[in-house]
Amino acid sequence: MSHIHIDIHELSFSYEKDTPIFDKLSVSFHEHDAVGLIGANGAGKSTFLKLLVGLETAQSGSIRIEEIPVEKKTLPKIREKIGYVFQDSDTQLFMTTVRDDVAFAPRNYSLPEEEVNSRVERALSLVHIPHLADKAIHKLSGGEKKLVSLATILSMTPDILLMDEPSIALDPRNRKNLIHILNEFDHLKVIASHDLDFIWDTCNRILLLDHGAIVADGPAEEILQDEALLTAHGLELPLSLTGRTHVACEESVKFARA
Amino acid sequence: MHMADALIIPATAGVMYAASGAAAAYSIHKVRQEHAPEKIPVMGVMGAFVFATQMINFTIPGTGSSGHLCGGLLLSAILGPYAGFLTMIGVLLVQCLFFADGGLLALGCNIWNMAFYGCFVGALLIWKNIMQNGASKKKITIASILGCVITLQMGAFSVCMETYLSGVSSLPFGAFLAAMLPIHLAIGLVEGLITAAVLCFIYESRPELLWGIGWNSAPKARFSLGKTLGILAAAAAAIGGILSLFASALPDGLEWALERVAGTAELPAAGAAFDAAQSIQNKTSFLPDYALPGSESAAGTTVSGLVGALITAAVCVAVALAFHFFRNKKAGSGRKAIG
């Protein structure tokens, strides 16, 4: 068994006093886990990810990343180990060119310029877009922006990768491309999404959240095929597992005619 | 209200850069004091926001025409006057560089005319004093309209002043003012109404975003109306002083303009100030009135000059045509080689 990379112990968090988001939540992730964090809208997926990188602070309980507790004074160290890709690429990418944006984090950690450059090259080739290096951000397509966002995180060579709704606004080809790249990333990754097909293609372990509680935690093959469990918590079987795509289409045609 | 470079002379540009620079330095000092690094992305995004909203046309009821937003007061009512002022500098720089809206040299003037008045007078003086005992929609409307109208009038007055002191227009100062102020009264009114509408919406949906509300209940109001007025008057006097110093130091433009109006080229300048001006003049005399000894007009345009211009233009056009000819030929042969 590989060693534990993220350890969460009795974590409680709320935005407002009387409505807790998480109540004494405990879970741990290992080095090669590919965790799919699933749940309906408002289940607490994004908040969970933000707690891990210290963008939100828990009221009680503890989070340890590679044995380091997440606290205000350890944040710079934590954030070197853990990368977070935002849902909106336009938020993630704030410099004007791809190269400057990917180099932003390495420069902030005061690496020498040669090291910064080699990290930029490596990060861009990891996501197969070295040709975009000198392009202006505002000229990228949605899919390219997502890949650049990922590269800006990979340039920090993180041990852990967190992604919030990575598949939103991607066309089929970009989506397939992203799945391929994520599967190449051999470290711990946590992907929050309600796109269950995407999760099915990228994750081996599933964490099902509902109203801030973990209602299921297990191998992807088990949970993603458990239709009763998924529907009970506001989700549906991944389309690729239903074989009902046609039926759904016919239903909607009927609906449109009526 | 954006001034072009052609409307000013270096002395005006320098003075206004100095004035705006001082206000910017003070604002940066204030923003740094707040220790709020999260304000930097807010300033960036809000600057882009102001720029984008300036592009939206607003129908003005009953006129068929449309108005736009300028944004100084709006920004300051959200970010506070200091961060608002710095944001407006960024917006004006973007407009100047990318859209030729106002010149690079005139940026100091434009920052002063549009950002300084809007943020410091509009927000620090008018908005804050009206809001100090808490806000209401009525108060927001009054503060917005009052703030926009007054600051735009001040801005328009400054535009006239700067153009006039630069001596590029033969228009008498009074006539210039008579043309500028009424137009900007209307513009200010519309801008005030738009600002009021937006701020009222914010007040209803997320009032905590508004700056300077109910500060009187806080331990101590740091600026009284009188004190702020005093500071503004001192600033105005200082700038007026520096301007007139430069005016007496640099004989071109300014003096020429004054000569037209007053019939005299001499400005009253006394003692130390005059000496200082003299030394500045000596230092800046690398730009003498150019003229060859014995040419027809010492400081103006000569016939030989115009003829020279014509010849140069002809040569330039010929060179350009030749250049294009050879370039096209080269490109053509290149294409042939590829094909």
């Binding site: 963008l55 954030r79 336009d90 938020t91 993630q92 704030f94 410099m95 004007t96 984090a105 420069r107 902030n108 202006a136 800006t152 | 470079d5 052609a6 002379i9 540009a13 940066i28 999260e38 930097i40 960036g44 995004v45 600057g47 882009a48 926001f49 909203t53 939206i56 046309n57 009821p61 068929g64 449309s66 960024g90 973007v94 990318f98 859209f99 030729a100 010149g103 690079l104 227009s169 033969s170 008498p172 109404l193 009021a196 509408a197 937006v198 919406f201 949906s205 975003l209 037209r260 730009l287 003229a291 040419s295 103006g300 003829v307 020279g308 211009a309 010849i311 330039c316 350009a320 250049f323």
Partner: protein, 266 residues
């Protein structure tokens, strides 16, 4: 085309030009900025009647346009903002200043006409010079030049972010006005009823976006006062460019070059 789409298009166009790989684009941004400022100062320092002196300054934009291959037509398009204002200020000069200044082939030209013409020429030249600067310099180069001039980091970062998010916000504003126009046919702009909620909503969204942006910057090690760019170093050709233009421009300002030239032919 709407103002918004227009602004988007011209931003895009300028960005494309600035990212080309031409010799003018490769000149150090600080050098280009300094030469441009020197040029602007010298042009506006001419006295109102020195029309020929101002005309001589046309050499700088003329040469740069020729050598850089930038389109003169695109630059002229920018004049539409500036010229009307400049003309409005200058157009009355001939009426107020009727003193004859010189006589050319039997026609008397008054001081007012001279000052009006030189004002217009100044207006055109200054706009062209700024265009040459920005059409050959990317946003990040402008920022690095500004920080080399010791402009505080707050302002430089803010300027960079404005440039980055202008296109994003223009896009949002465009979608909003389109959605509005589709539901309000026949209206020329946005009616007063919707002023507050429309701009207000855009404002709230921008505030939320900037909050998230700050988080994203923090996660990647952002601190308040740090340089965002490695500063580019100068090379010999940069010094050469600076020296040559400084020399030429100051010569054009001090010596009546055109008059000497014309004197040879008269």
């Amino acid at each position: 085309m709407s103002r918004i789409a227009n602004a988007e298009r011209s931003l895009k166009k300028l960005d494309e030009l600035a990212r080309q790989d031409t010799w003018l684009n490769r000149v150090h941004p600080l050098v280009k900025l300094l030469v441009t400022i020197l040029y602007l100062v010298l042009v506006v320092s001419f006295q109102p009647r020195q029309l020929t002196g101002v005309l001589g300054m046309a050499l700088y934009p003329f040469l740069l346009f020729e050598i850089s291959g930038l389109s003169f037509k695109d630059a002229l398009y920018r004049l539409r903002v500036v010229l009307p204002v400049v003309c409005m200020v200058g157009i009355l000069n001939p009426f107020f200043d009727r003193e004859p200044a010189l006589s050319l082939f039997g026609i008397t030209i008054t001081g007012g006409v001279l000052t009006m013409l030189s004002l217009m020429v100044k207006g055109i030249l200054t706009v062209l010079a700024s265009y040459l600067l920005i059409a050959s310099t990317t946003v990040e180069s402008v920022c690095s030049a500004l920080s080399m001039l010791h402009i505080p980091g707050i302002l430089v970062t803010e300027f960079l972010l404005i440039c980055r998010y202008v296109s994003v916000l223009l896009n949002e504003a465009d979608r909003m006005t389109q959605a509005y126009a589709l539901r309000a046919p026949g209206q020329k702009g946005v009616a007063p009823k919707a002023w507050g909620s429309m701009i207000g909503r855009l404002l709230l969204r921008s505030m939320d976006r900037s909050a998230e942006l700050y988080q994203s910057m923090c996660l990647r090690g952002f601190r308040q006062e740090q340089p965002l760019f490695r500063q580019k170093s100068f090379c010999a050709s940069d010094f050469f460019y600076l020296a040559v233009w400084t020399f030429i421009l100051i010569c054009l300002r001090i010596f009546p070059v055109l008059e000497i030239l014309g004197g040879l032919f008269l």
